[in-house]
Amino acid sequence: MHRRTKHRIKMSLLNLFFIVACLLCIVPILYTLSVSLNGTNNILSGSFSFIPKEVTFDNYKAVLFNKPYLLWLKNTLILVIATVTISLAVAIPAAYAFSRFRFIGRKTILYILIILNAFPSILSMFAIYRILMPMKLVNSYLGLILIYVGTMAIFGLWNMKGYFDTIPIEIEEAGKIDGANDFQLVTKLIMPLAKPSIIVTAVMIIIFVWNEYIFAVTFMTGAEKYTLAAGLYALQATQYTRNWPIFSAASLLTAIPILIIFLVIQKNMVSGLTAGGVKG
């Protein structure tokens, strides 16, 4: 009996600890939510309460209809779709080549790619700027897409190569006997089997582009060309448009898609990442 009470006290303390930890963890998000839904604009006054007395969706409406939010969303989607498509189109065949063929320079290139991945692209940003400028690719989506694809191609190649390595080669040999060529092998056999890794790679690229702001603000001029990330960044920095309730509504609207995607593929993400990229 005594031991059971002791156990119970221990468990309650543990649960209490986790409740506090969880609250501390999401307090910035809850506060933002509360501000964005607050009808009476009393953040500045002392009477602010965490649970809004008057719930309103006006801030969300303002974001969706008055600010250039939808335009930024469209720009972001263009960049996301183009980057994901091109990255996968170049990284899948490359990952296949590095996984299945043994050729001169293979190990060296893989090694160089790891080292390149350690290099933060922010450090060569000015050089990129100067290279893209004479090509008229500054202030153009194509320029940004090329930068994003270059960065994510390394990740995609390594990540998917790691997964391709785990697919037994015997499956392909069976396909070859049936007369399939390389293209059919990849599209009909490897890609369906490697789906988890391809999905994780695609999602990582989506998240990367969705969250990238520093290249977007540096290379794009004019708010009408901004992505969501660049737009929010600018919205927050300019004094005269500083409106905290609207900003919080816009932030949450932008964060929610990523939050959902992330929580859905959370399990895949750890296994997908540790299977390829982390190793080696």
């Binding site: 468990m11 543990l14 600890f17 986790f18 930890a21 969880c22 963890c25 999401i26 910035p28 998000i29 506060y31 500045l44 602010f48 170049v90 990284a91 065949p93 490359a94 080549a97 590095f98 063929f101 050729f103 190990k107 290139i109 090694y111 790619l113 790891i114 390149l116 290099f119 933060p120 450090l123 060569s124 940003m125 000015f126 050089a127 290279i131 090329l146 930068i147 694809v149 270059g150 960065t151 191609a153 190649l157 969250n211 520093i214 929010l232 960044y233 927050q236 920095a237 004094q239 905290w244 900003f247 919080s248 932008t254 939050l259 992330f262 929580l263 750890v270 540790t274 982390v278 080696g280």
Partner: protein, 300 residues
């Protein structure tokens, strides 16, 4: 014979588009950065710059008041402080999550993952506006309720540095908790049972069983986190240095320093030299670590 000759080129053909893009967008800019670092290119010498040799490197490494060495020291402190706190807190939380009989573990874990799932720059801006803001930030709101005066969280160096560490922990802990939690579950329970029989207490079990068994499993994730912490740009930049809303704190790390020299004070040659120095540090660091981790086996 001809067919075999063609076959030899297949992997090159398959990987060419990807490698070409990487070469164009990653490798070439790095090489070009190396070239710029040897010139006096700046906003006045946009086209008529000259090669000046290693002067920029000398300036960064041997002139004390340029700020580079300070920023470098701060980056080291930043990395160590963050990693130590992160490992301790993540270890404690992960082991508590694995206490037997904790029924709501799944729920707690999901909530604790939230900061990881949020877009990083949004979280940072929310911390800046929502938590740290002097007038309507939540932290000062709480302080006022407790009867304390407002604190300027981001305006002076030490407090701003501590605030940045706080945000970094908030952002980075979920990943580390997840990794340690996964590793803890992979440890065979039999070790603990026999240790309990032999009368080992909590701490001696942690020291003799958990930590040694954990180390090899979590090592790659820890190395990756050391790199990301060392290279962390967003937190310090967005909290204190964002164009148009600087707070006055001067807590440059080497990355934010490089960015400022390139895009704010427009000293391109000097900034490029620092880029190359950082790159060298990263290469040396990753070569040593990788050699120790896995014997440098790329083929894994």
């Amino acid at each position: 014979m001809k067919k075999r000759g063609y076959k030899k080129f297949i992997p090159y053909i398959y990987s060419f588009p990807g490698l070409a893009l990487i070469g164009l967008m990653i490798v070439f800019p790095i090489l070009y950065t190396g070239y710029i670092s040897l010139t006096n290119m700046n906003v006045y010498h946009w086209f008529d710059f000259q090669v000046i040799g290693f002067q920029n490197y000398m300036k960064a490494l041997f002139v004390l008041d340029t700020g580079f060495l300070t920023a470098f020291g701060r980056t080291i402190v930043w990395t160590i402080v963050n990693m130590v706190l992160q490992m301790i807190i993540a270890f404690v939380i992960a082991s508590l999550l694995n206490v037997e009989g904790l029924r709501l573990k799944g729920l707690y874990k999901t909530i604790l993952m939230f900061p990881w799932a949020m877009p990083g720059y949004i979280s940072i801006l929310l911390w800046k506006m929502g938590m740290f803001n002097t007038e309507f930030g939540l932290l000062n709101h709480w302080l006022n309720k407790l009867g304390f005066a407002n604190v300027h969280w981001l305006n002076s160096n030490n407090i701003a540095f501590a605030s940045s560490v706080m945000v970094n922990l908030w952002l980075a802990l979920p990943f580390m908790i997840m990794i340690i939690d996964g590793a803890l579950q992979s440890i065979d329970k039999a070790y603990y049972e026999s240790a309990t029989i032999e009368g080992a207490g909590y701490f001696s079990k942690a020291r003799k069983i958990t930590i040694p068994l954990l180390r090899p499993i979590i090592a790659p994730a820890v190395v990756i986190t050391i790199f990301t912490t060392f290279k962390q740009f967003d937190i310090i930049y967005l909290l204190t240095q964002q164009q148009g809303s600087k707070t006055g704190a001067d807590i440059h790390t080497i990355i934010t320093y490089t960015y400022e020299k390139a895009f704010v004070t427009n000293n391109y040659g000097y900034s490029s030299a620092i880029s190359i120095i950082i790159f060298m540090i990263l290469i040396i660091f990753s070569l040593t670590i990788r050699g120790r981790l896995k014997g440098g086996d790329v083929d894994a």
